[in-house]
């Protein structure tokens, strides 16, 4: 474990990483050299699906795209893709953590990413609900709060992607 302070450097986290590292599951993931690149590749393909699905819904809400369809229809078209891809990302992400716990737990980027993933997932779910509520009266234009939330949610997912890559360069990015 690298010398670090705060939650991600605490003895409990470090101990957990050591324990995880020693499990047979972790050993199995590391036993074949191409497993981790393969899982990372699937993880990246899926973030493309998650991000663009979210972008499509947001761009419709902002009136930039797919204005020939009601927001409800755009949500129904892309939400299942978004949630399914997120489930695959969770599965592949957990596999990567089990395979290389110290690589992940020892970085600021990882913990920031987890925080933003939690915000992104719950934010997207809430956003979907607010769209349904706002669509009841079928306003031509969504209220400022919904439009602001749209932009915010895209920024959260962008930050998640950035932090995912930053895990490999933690010290360079955060000093």
């Amino acid at each position: 474990m690298q010398e670090s302070i705060g939650l991600y450097g605490s003895a409990a986290v470090s101990g957990f990483a050591d324990w995880l590292q020693g499990t047979s599951a972790s050993g199995a993931i590391k036993s074949v050299s191409w497993i981790i690149p393969l899982i990372q590749s699937v993880h990246i393909v899926m973030i493309g699906v998650v991000f663009v699905s979210c972008l499509m819904i947001v761009l419709r809400v902002l009136g930039v795209m797919r204005t020939d369809e009601p927001v409800e229809a755009v949500w129904r078209r892309f939400a299942p893709w978004l949630w399914s891809a997120l489930a695959v990302m969770a599965a592949t992400g957990i596999t990567l953590v089990v395979g290389e716990p110290e690589r992940e737990f020892g970085t600021v980027s990882f913990w920031m990413k987890m925080l933003l993933v939690a915000i992104g997932v719950s934010g997207t779910a809430l956003y979907g609900r607010s769209l349904k509520a706002a669509a009841v009266g079928a306003p031509a234009e969504f209220p400022v709060s919904v439009r602001a939330a749209s932009i915010l949610i895209v920024i959260v997912w962008l930050a998640v992607i950035f932090l995912g890559r930053a895990i490999a360069y933690d010290k360079q990015v955060w000093g």
């Binding site: 050299s33 981790i36 690149p37 393969l38 990372q40 590749s41 990246i44 393909v45 973030i47 493309g48 699906v49 991000f51 663009v52 699905s53 972008l55 499509m56 795209m65 797919r66 020939d68 369809e69 078209r77 690589r103 962008l158 992607i161 950035f162 995912g164 890559r165 930053a166 490999a168 360069y169 360079q172 990015v173």
Partner: protein
């Protein structure tokens, strides 16, 4: 100028030097590359799925193409710029890398597939633009595009794991690589 000296001059260029010397340049540029690349893939996937008749054929192919491809080209330009910077920083390690070469081949394949589709199949799109079965040539183009772009992403990730030490490890040697 021969090829090795071209590679050398790319590595000696100012952007390449900046990539190597600035601490945050590489991770930030790589993150932008992933982000833009994911957007290229996701937006193209929507067009490809429409060509495969998914989820249905109600939205006109022409409309799906025009609204998606604008986004795709912007993301592609960003991804290409970031990728070129990554390449320039360590050009000689990329040119000899098998995963990189295969990735370029897959990109070329995706480009040829797109050119054939737009140059031939798409010309008669009026006949199957909406509420009509998609012709086989277009369905094949869509499926090929998905496969090629997934291959591009996989090969791209493979570069990071193989570049720089593309050599045979002697037997009974343990090397601890830190990624």
């Amino acid at each position: 100028m021969d090829f090795p000296s071209l590679i050398q001059s790319i590595e000696a260029s100012a952007p390449a030097q900046w990539m190597r010397t600035s601490l945050a340049a590489m991770p930030v540029v790589e993150a932008i590359h992933v982000l833009a690349g994911a957007t290229v893939f996701g937006t193209i996937l929507i067009v490809d799925l429409r060509l495969l008749g998914f989820p249905d054929t109600r939205r006109p192919v022409t409309r799906v193409c025009s609204e998606m491809l604008r986004l795709t080209w912007i993301a592609f330009a960003v991804s290409l710029t970031a990728g070129a910077l990554m390449f320039a920083a360590n050009a000689h390690t990329y040119v000899g890398n098998t995963a990189f070469r295969l990735k370029m081949l897959a990109l070329l394949g995706a480009g040829v597939n797109m050119a054939l589709f737009h140059g031939i199949t798409f010309r008669k799109v009026g006949a199957w633009d909406q509420n009509a079965p998609v012709p086989r040539a277009a369905r094949i183009a869509g499926a090929a595009s998905i496969l090629l772009w997934v291959a591009v992403i996989f090969l791209a990730r493979w570069i990071g794991f193989t570049k720089g030490y593309d050599f045979k490890i002697p037997p009974h040697t343990h090397i601890d690589f830190q990624f």
